[in-house]
Amino acid sequence: MIVTEASRQLLEDCGVDSDRLALEWASAAEAPRFVELITGYVSKIKEKGPIGSGKGEVPLEVIERRLAAAVKAAGARKPRTRLGNLAKKLAKDGDYSKEAISQGVREKILPAMRSERIGLEARMILQEEPKDLDTLCKETGASAEELEKIMAPMVKKGTVSRENDTFSLVSGK
C-alpha cells in the first residue's frame, strides 16, 4: 500500500491521472467480485480515454520523458531508503490508515522522488541541446527556485556548465 501510494503520487507529479492506478483485493474464492472489479475498472479507464488525454494530463511525449526519468528516480537510493524508513515508522506506530500512509509519502518520499526525477529529466532535455532556466522549468514542471537547487550540485561537479541562464551538458561526463 505504501508502494502504491508512492507510485500514485509520483504519477500525479508527472502529470498522469493517479486514478489510472488501482489496487483492489479479491480472494481466490471471489470470482464474481473479481469480475465486478475488473468490469468497473475497465469502464472507468474507457471514460478517461487514452493516457495523456484525460483531465489535467500533460501530452504524451512529455509523459513519456517524465516517466522515463521517474522510473530511474523511483529506483534511486534516497527515495528507497525513505520508503524503508516510512515502512518502519508505520509499523512502529501501528497506524496503517490511508491518511497516515498518504501523509507519510507526501512528506518523506515524494520530495526525494520529485527532485530526483526533475534532475534526471533536466539532463535528458539538455542531452539534445543547451536550454535556459525558463525552458527547463516549463518542460519539467518545476519552479525556478527548485530547479536552481537541483542544478547547483551538477554545476559544481562539472557535469553541467552554466553561462548566465543557459545550461548545457558537459560532454564526456
Partner: protein, 80 residues
C-alpha cells in the same frame, strides 16, 4: 471537405471503440486464482487486461508501475 469529414468520423470511431490497454499485476494466490475461477465458471469480463502474475502483491515496485505507464499502458490494475 469530404476528407475532413472522413477524418472526423474516424476520430469519432476511435473514441467510441477505444480499447484501453490495461496491465494487471495479480497475486498468484488471490486475484490470479480468482481470475482463473472466473474463467472456469464462464463469467464474462472485458478482455482488456494483460496479466502479469507475481508471487505476492508485495513484490510490486513503483518502478514496475511507472514503467508500465511509460510503455503506453492506459491503466494498471493491482490485484491482491
Amino acid at each position: 471537405m469530404a476528407k475532413e469529414n472522413a477524418v472526423a468520423k474516424e476520430n469519432e470511431m476511435a473514441q467510441e471503440g477505444f480499447d484501453p490497454k490495461i496491465l494487471g499485476f495479480f497475486c498468484h494466490w488471490c486475484c490470479y486464482a480468482a481470475a482463473d475461477s472466473a474463467g472456469v465458471s464462464r463469467y464474462q469480463y472485458p478482455p482488456n487486461v494483460r496479466v502479469i502474475r507475481v508471487m505476492c502483491t508485495g513484490r510490486i515496485d513503483a518502478r514496475f508501475v511507472i514503467e508500465a505507464f511509460r510503455c503506453g499502458a492506459d491503466g494498471v490494475f493491482t490485484g491482491g
